[in-house]
């Protein structure tokens, strides 16, 4: 299934004008509050009518202003998980789950009740009423309910924001499994870089109603921002645990740009892990550093340098097979004569990682590796 969106809509003084396309996997729609994320998702779902544009799933056109096509919400077969669970309070969990199934033609059903109940771990809740569920349980039921309607696209609008950290941890694994097991594209709205890093396969940045960047997570997150450096900027890689150094309690991770050493991870060799290196924790040197405690130093070449008016600029550094992103001051750029094409050494001060994004085992979500 492929979702194609190209819509414009004026909302007071605010204007949304966005194009995106999503085929399988999880597309994170990432941006600050008020960027138009929810409105864009509502335009896709049919809850908001575009002034102009087109929304289609494969060859099935749901909205096209040119031809006057506007398929009503209930016939779009687009699943929607809202910020609040919005369960039907008068029905049991079981009947909430089955509600959408009624309306889906039998030939189009691809989700099975027992499978979804198992996937989301909600079997013990089936007889209960929504009022008696915890926030995390409600949201799991809401996800299951959307899936059991056999949607062709699943929209999730910050489904975790109303939950505390512990409840979030309860839901993450299910969304991660969904990404692999659901057969449909998922559009996941978020303003949290952790969510994006952990869940997304592709990411679209949205700002002021416009998509400013779109592409695979590692590519987009490690690309410098043309307008201004983002505090959340950083490079994301998929890495593999290649070995442990028991004497110094370290683990080695192989990633496309080389090998990283981090404090001993409680993971078997061969475990897949997603790694993020925040731009603000990368230091650049123009000569091989001597007498430093930093363990992770990579030789690379500056490919892009973006400076604005502020003190901080973003540098993109090409390693052998990957890119790093570094925040450096404009003063340093001048002092060290940094420019694209210049060979540099990137010193990595901290690494955030998350094994559950790929594997499903327990580790701390973010455990910065110390300086060395």
């Amino acid at each position: 299934m492929k979702l194609d969106v190209d819509v414009a809509r004026k909302l007071g003084a605010f204007r949304i004008d966005a194009q995106l396309s999503c085929e399988g996997g999880l597309l994170a729609l990432f941006g600050p509050s008020g960027a138009g994320k929810t409105s864009l998702v509502n335009l896709i779902a049919g809850l908001l009518r575009p002034d102009r544009g087109r929304v289609a799933i494969d060859a099935d056109v749901l909205f096209d202003s040119k031809f006057g096509i506007d398929v009503p919400v209930h016939r779009r077969r687009i699943g929607y998980v809202f910020q609040e669970p919005r369960l039907l309070p008068h029905l049991s969990v079981r009947h909430n789950l089955l509600y959408g199934r009624w309306f889906c033609p039998a030939s189009a059903r691809y989700t099975r009740f027992a499978e979804i109940v198992e996937l989301l771990g909600i079997a013990p809740l089936l007889k209960r009423r929504p009022a008696l569920l915890s926030g995390g349980e409600k949201q799991r039921v809401a996800i299951g309910r959307a899936l059991l309607a056999s949607p062709r696209v699943l929209l999730m609008d910050e489904p975790l924001t109303s939950l505390d950290a512990a409840r979030k941890e309860e839901i993450y694994p299910y969304v991660e499994r969904l990404r692999y097991e659901a057969k449909v594209p998922i559009v996941y709205v978020s303003h949290s870089i952790e969510d994006v890093m952990r869940l997304a396969t592709t990411v679209a940045f949205i700002e002021n109603g416009r998509i400013t960047a779109c592409g695979p997570v590692d590519d987009v997150l490690s690309r410098p921002d043309p307008s201004h450096p983002r505090p959340a900027a950083g490079a994301v890689f998929d890495a593999v645990v290649v070995g442990h150094d028991e004497e110094f309690a370290l683990s080695a991770l192989a990633f496309p740009g080389g090998e990283l050493r981090v404090p001993r991870l409680d993971l078997p060799k061969g475990s897949a892990i997603r790694v993020r290196i925040p731009a603000r924790d990368v230091v650049l040197a123009i000569a091989p550093p001597v007498g430093l405690s930093t363990l992770n130093v990579f030789r690379g070449e500056i490919t892009e340098l973006t400076a604005g008016e502020g003190a901080i600029a973003e540098a993109r550094i090409r390693l052998e097979g990957a890119y790093l992103l570094a925040h450096v001051t404009r003063k340093s750029i001048a002092a060290l004569d940094l420019a694209p094409g210049r060979e540099v050494f990137a010193l990595v001060k901290s690494i955030a990682f998350d094994s559950r994004s790929v594997g499903g085992r327990r580790t701390e979500f973010i455990r910065p590796a110390p300086a060395g």
Partner: protein, 231 residues
């Protein structure tokens, strides 16, 4: 107090019959009007609102007189009903039911309207994304969620209908076995010398009936609240 006399049984049976028919008549009209008033903005909304509440404010005798003008055998609606449906309202128990329905209507609409207004519409939007069309959403989400108000309004209106006096006696008079409901029987006994004891017994009966309606409504409302909002 001993067992009920045949006169009392007749008045009680007639009152219950009139009360039940009155809510059966008004409910199908009250629900759409309550939803309309709760959900839609349209020209003339205030006028409709006023007309709905009129029987609550107008002297009941005036309402009864208007009903007589409208539904009497020579009234426009009354003549039509008799000609096409063979239905006569004036001076019949059917007329008492109509009078009770009209008098209880504002209470019923108000209770339903309040509960419809309290429904979280975001839940209905969620139902739409799950594939439910508007009529389906109304039947499977809106109506069940408004049920506490519908039940409360029905019981309130029923109790009002059972106790209705002014409009009823004006519209259908006091005919034993046909239109002599509980309150009209009480009034009749009070007009008769030596009828006070009988009037008192009927009053006690009315108290029991009213209390039963209130208790039943409270119990139902609580049960529904528990189902919706947990213990």
């Amino acid at each position: 107090m001993t067992a009920l006399t045949p006169v009392e049984v007749e008045a009680l049976r007639l009152s219950l019959k009139v009360g039940l028919w009155s809510v059966a008549l008004s409910l199908p009209v009250a629900v759409p009007i309550a939803v309309l008033l709760a959900r839609r903005e349209f020209p003339g909304k205030q006028l409709l609102n006023g007309v709905v509440y009129l029987p609550l404010i107008l002297p009941p005798v005036a309402t009864g007189y208007l009903l007589l003008l409208l539904f009497g055998r020579r009234g426009p609606a009354g003549a039509w009903l008799e000609e096409h449906l063979g239905l006569v309202l004036a001076f019949r128990w059917t007329g008492a039911a109509v009078a009770a329905a009209v008098m209880g209507f504002p209470l019923m609409v108000r209770a339903i309207r309040l509960s419809v207004e309290a429904i979280d519409r975001r839940v209905e939007v969620a139902a739409a994304t799950l594939g439910a069309s508007r009529p389906w959403i109304f039947a499977s989400v809106t109506l069940p969620l408004a049920l506490p108000g519908i039940i409360a309004g029905t019981i309130l209106s029923f109790a009002r209908g059972v106790g209705e006096f002014g409009a009823t006696i004006t519209f259908v008079s006091n005919i034993p076995g046909e239109t002599r409901t509980l309150p009209i029987a009480i009034h009749a006994f009070l007009q008769t010398p030596g009828g006070e004891a009988a009037a008192l017994r009927l009053t006690a009966l009315a108290i029991v009936l009213s209390l039963a309606a209130i208790v039943a409504s409270e119990m139902l409302a609580r049960r529904l609240q528990r189902r919706l909002h947990g213990a």
